[in-house]
Subunit: 87 residues, 2 copies
DNA sequence: TAAGATTTGTGCGTATGTATT
DNA sequence: TAATACATACGCACAAATCTT
């Protein structure tokens, strides 16, 4: 917890951030239909630029871990059914 | 007075706006504990986006020139004592 | 009591420019 | 060239608190 970005890692910062959020989702810390940390929160939590925080969130969407409601926020997506995406 | 934003300058717009406000503070045009121009006022005065106006105000806070009261406004801070920040 | 305006807080969408790898 | 990261700027929408009418 409260890990820092490892800029020496081959894993880019946005993936490290996404990884922690995924761990929180799978650990039940972040619940379905509840918001994940906002961009601003991620920026402060990790000390990264907005672009990086946004990449992390975008990655979570692409991986099916979250969904975004425009102008509202990004929430944990229910993956109880299709854990595997067919696309 | 009534200068325009110089988009060719290496100084970003938010810093140009902040600079004018600082001049007004140091010239006594803006007094201690009196409000500085609101975000809306800055948007109209300079023709910039809210994000830019907010950056200018945030910069003034960070530099110790102002303090913000949520939902009230941002006011000129008394710097008579610690003109120099120790941090 | 209620409505409206004002001001800041928050969140996201988008774009450009620079730098590094 | 492409991906990544950071800084900046513009746009839109809604919430919350405050102040006025």
């Amino acid at each position: 917890m409260a890990a820092e970005i490892d800029y020496d890692s081959p894993t880019p910062p946005y993936r490290q951030i996404a990884a922690e959020i995924i761990r929180d989702i799978e650990a039940g810390v972040l619940r379905v239909d509840r918001p994940i940390p906002s961009e601003s929160a991620l920026i402060q939590r990790w000390g990264v630029a907005r672009d990086t925080a946004r990449r992390a969130v975008r990655y979570l969407r692409e991986e099916g871990y979250a969904y975004t409601v425009p102008q509202r926020g990004t929430y944990v997506r229910d993956r109880s059914d299709q854990t595997q995406e067919v696309e």
